[in-house]
């Protein structure tokens, strides 16, 4: 099957406008005759469900949490980018587009990124109108800050809780539609399979997490907005429940998986403190604006930081990247920290950490000023580690934070299964090989509020939908498969807990498919993952019943899918013989240790097709062309 990205041609400024005009519309009176399933209730899913219901479609929305307000979008701290140029500092739609294509290391589709930059301005307007309390200047206008090394101030924020406030805006719009009876909400419900009938996505199979009941939901189109798969690493900044199951089930039903190996490692997280560690906590990237990152010059220096004189400290980012210093992009900062730790210069009990020091800023600006900027973050750090960043430097280490990869979608956000649309972090997205700070919120809301309402209308208006029922063989087969799998997991009754498998998988992934990858490590990881997966299906111990709230059972199903995804990620990382963005292959680096892209051979998006459980996935390539932003080596020196 050939990939058709449906990317429009013509001048890039008018591609989206032209596409919108060319798309078919559904008559207002006919919208209520169509039904749409939205899986996930975060920024992308919540925004899509609310907006489609406002338009008049029949919507059902599903989330695994107890309320749509808890989707993991809520944890985003820093902000949301928009090309408003309110600061008159030279920003424009074109500049945001340019920065995003370059920041993504030239592995994203230009047309999509341009549309994202265009829509960014509408998102801010919509959020303000909903009552999102963005930070303000004294004159009452919206405040902006520069974020993640951007050279213009285009980031809008609401204290350190921008994701929370944007999500609550979408959630409130969604609750309004639920109250009006236009959305039926299914909380504590997990999608466990996709139903494809006559080549079109027509429904899903769900499990009610409280009663264990398995249900079939049928519709005219299905939207997945189920987030990223960073939890394949066990330790990540994702919420504990984040999982790949919905995407993975869709993959096995024919949706291609795009760039699975593109993961983002965030440089400023609190280091691991012990084996019991269940997740990693992000410290906002904004801390790098005033903190200086360093390690001791000598390897194995165990003196407390205060006793290490300035001359024996290595401010390595400032040394290696003098023009960007501590503000280099995430992938660059993370890799540099790893190199320091590999040299034995890491700090803290595990040796896996670097200092983020505020002493110089406190001296220059005063404790008061620093406390106003970062007070809540310092408090959170102290709560977790028991150390005050005012007195002693923070210890930070990179952690998995976001996955740029996801289900492959065309310009209409439709996957390779007609009628299956994928939004937000769940798709393989507009971020290429590396996402810039404050761009995730922008993309989730752009997809949900302003792209899908048009493209799904076009799909519905251009297709005929036969009436289908739960008795359709495909629906029955999918449901039977789901119940069979649940029973199988409960019947193994082995010796190891689900978490122990998950931890082991995470370790394999982090060591071999994390910040640095090489051929030997990846091949080895694939062998080990296969063996671990085999052991899982023989030796996992899941207690309890299926007709009950059973958190071990939920986890088991998710880990089983991670055990398959991990292998695909390694295969993708192995196949991409270059270094780009978050994907760093040790074989492909410059003499200074920087990522070396191969634009001649690797300027493509990888799209993997499932071909059977015992067969390797088939690779399809979508070539990427750059008509506007010409590929260049990223340099932050």
């Amino acid at each position: 099957m050939a990939l058709n990205s449906r990317t429009p041609s013509g001048p890039i400024e008018s591609r989206w406008d032209n596409t919108k005009f060319e798309m078919k519309l559904v008559n207002p009176a006919n919208k209520r005759k169509y039904s749409v399933l939205v899986v996930g209730s975060g920024l992308a899913g919540g925004a899509a469900a609310a907006t489609l219901a406002e338009l008049g479609y029949n919507v059902k929305c599903f989330c695994y949490q107890d309320s749509p307000r808890r989707a993991h979008s809520i944890a985003a701290q820093g902000g949301i980018n928009a090309a408003k140029n309110y600061q008159n500092d030279g920003d424009s739609i074109y500049r945001l587009f340019y920065d995003t294509v370059k920041g993504g290391d030239f592995r994203a589709r230009e047309s999509n990124v341009y549309r994202l930059a265009q829509i960014s301005v509408n998102i801010i307007d919509q959020a303000v109108a909903q009552g999102v309390p963005f930070a303000r200047e004294y004159g009452g206008t919206l405040a902006n800050r520069s974020f993640g090394g951007a050279q213009v101030s285009r980031t809008f924020y609401a204290r350190g809780q921008t994701g929370q406030q944007l999500l609550l805006g979408a959630y409130q719009a969604l609750e309004r539609q639920i109250d009006a009876g236009r959305v039926k909400m299914f909380p504590r419900t997990e999608m466990l399979d996709l139903i494809v009938i006559d080549g079109k996505a027509r429904g899903i199979v769900t499990r009610n997490l409280v009663t264990g009941q398995t249900d079939v939901h049928l519709a005219d189109a299905v939207i997945l907005a189920t987030g990223g798969y960073g939890n394949v690493f066990y330790l990540s900044t994702n919420a504990k429940g984040c999982n790949v199951t919905a995407s993975w089930r869709a993959y096995k039903r024919g949706a291609f998986f795009g760039n699975p190996c593109f993961t983002q490692i965030h440089p400023t997280c609190i280091p691991v403190s012990g084996d019991y560690q269940s997740k990693l906590t992000l410290m906002s990237e904004s801390l790098r604006n005033d903190g200086r990152i360093w390690v001791p010059v000598k390897a194995g220096d165990t003196r407390p930081p205060q006793q290490i004189p300035d001359s024996e400290r290595d401010y390595f980012l400032e040394r290696i990247y003098p023009s960007f210093g501590n503000l280099v992009p995430r992938d660059v900062a993370s890799r540099a920290a790893k190199r320091m730790c590999d040299e034995g210069r890491g700090v803290g009990p595990s040796g896996l950490g670097v200092y983020l020091d505020f002493a110089a800023s406190i001296e220059r600006l005063g404790k008061q000023a620093i406390s106003e900027r970062y007070g809540n973050l310092f408090e959170m750090y102290e709560r977790i580690t028991g150390e005050s960043p005012y007195e002693t430097p923070m210890r930070i280490f990179p952690a998995v934070h976001y996955t740029m990869g996801g289900l492959w979608v065309d310009y209409h956000l439709m996957s390779t299964v007609p009628g299956l649309f994928v939004l937000g972090e769940a798709n393989f997205s507009d971020h290429g090989a590396n996402r810039l700070g404050a761009s995730a919120l922008m993309q989730g809301l752009a997809d949900g509020y302003f792209v899908i309402p048009f493209t799904i209308g076009n799909y519905l208006a251009s297709n005929k939908f036969e009436k289908v029922s739960e008795d359709h063989p495909e629906a029955k087969a999918a449901k039977a498969q789901v119940t069979g799998r649940v029973e199988k997991l409960l019947s193994i009754k082995g010796k190891r807990t689900v978490d122990s498998f998950h931890r082991e998988l995470g370790k394999i992934m982090w060591e071999n498919c994390g910040m640095a990858r090489n051929e030997k490590g990846l091949k080895d990881a694939i062998t080990r993952i296969k063996a671990l997966r085999e052991e899982f299906w023989k030796n996992v111990n899941v207690l309890g019943e299926s007709n009950d709230l059973n958190q071990s059972l939920e986890k088991a199903g998710r880990v089983a899918d991670f055990l398959e995804l991990g292998e695909l990620m390694c295969a993708d990382a192995l196949d991409r013989k270059e270094s780009c963005g978050g994907h760093f292959r040790e074989e492909y680096q410059t003499p200074e240790g920087e990522a070396m892209r191969d634009d001649e051979n690797c300027a493509y998006a990888a799209a993997w097709e499932y071909t059977g459980d015992d067969k390797p996935a088939a690779l399809h390539k979508e070539p990427l062309t750059f008509e506007y932003v010409h590929p260049s080596q990223r340099s932050y020196k």
């Binding site: 303000r136 004294y138 959630y171 504990k240 992000l282 807990t497 207690l543």
Partner: protein, 257 residues
């Protein structure tokens, strides 16, 4: 350190439930409270006993999913902290702890420490929004908002909907939760058109759900992990009062053309 844990175990909403005693060794002070429970659960599974069910998700104090009562205090002893961010250094060796779910008629127990808080969603659905369909917004800077008011609105909007306020209130009142949303939107120009109707409808929904009234005790504010203040309840009462006095039946919409 070593802990004795008394945990509420209840198989289903209809089961009577009881406290069950566990002891746990080698608890590190660096663990979060939920990581301590993870360790207990791993041990229970290995012994063939069903693990303790508790709600949690982000584990960084923002999703509002976690929460239970520790020794009579919602979210435990540390002020302004959800249980997921509470670390074991807040406890001492050989301490005995009692863990219970939120207790309120409007929050029925689902299992063990897990409760059903969907009543909160219905309170928001009754009016906790600005009716502004996607696409109908004006330019963001066309609405000027004084910084002080915007900051106050943000402080009210910081509510994470965890339900600790209800669990701590002797009346199981949802006033702090409801008042926070009424304040957040009522303080902003965008929220003015629906301000009084919002207060009337949300307060009415809270009563339907079975939450009690506020009698100014202040337990809610004391346990709120996000520092939501009692003044939000005062604003709710004022908006409710004005709404009740000025209420008029809606007029029929005129047909067009």
């Amino acid at each position: 350190m070593r802990l004795t844990l008394n945990i509420w175990r209840q198989k289903s909403p209809t089961d009577q439930g009881a406290m069950v005693r566990y002891s746990l060794d080698n608890v590190s002070e660096h663990m979060s409270f939920l990581e301590m429970l993870d360790v207990l659960n791993e041990q229970l599974i290995t012994k063939g006993e069903e693990p303790v069910a508790f709600d949690h998700d982000c584990r960084e104090g923002i999703c509002g999913m976690c929460g239970f009562v520790i020794n009579g205090v919602a979210h435990g002893p540390r002020r302004g902290t959800t249980v997921c961010q509470l670390h074991m250094r807040s406890f001492h060796d050989n301490e005995e702890l009692f863990l219970e779910p939120w207790r309120a008629a409007a929050f029925p127990v689902v299992k063990d420490l897990v409760v059903n808080r969907s009543a909160f969603d219905r309170i928001i659905g009754a009016g906790g929004y600005v009716s502004v369909p996607t696409g109908s917004a004006t330019d963001g800077n066309s609405i000027l908002i004084p910084k002080a008011e915007s900051d106050m609105a943000m402080s009210a909007a910081a509510c994470i909907g965890c339900g600790a306020c209800v669990a701590a209130c002797p009346n199981a009142s949802a006033s702090l939760f409801t008042g926070a949303k009424i304040s957040h939107l009522g303080l902003l120009p965008q929220g003015q058109p629906e301000r009084h109707a919002r207060a009337l409808n949300m307060v009415a929904q809270a009563a339907v759900e079975g939450f009690g009234n506020c009698t100014n005790i202040g337990e809610c504010e004391a346990v709120c992990p996000k520092g939501i203040q009692l003044e939000n309840i005062a604003r709710m009462n004022r908006d409710y009062l004005v709404g009740a006095i000025t209420y008029r039946e809606p007029q029929a919409e005129a047909g067009a053309g």
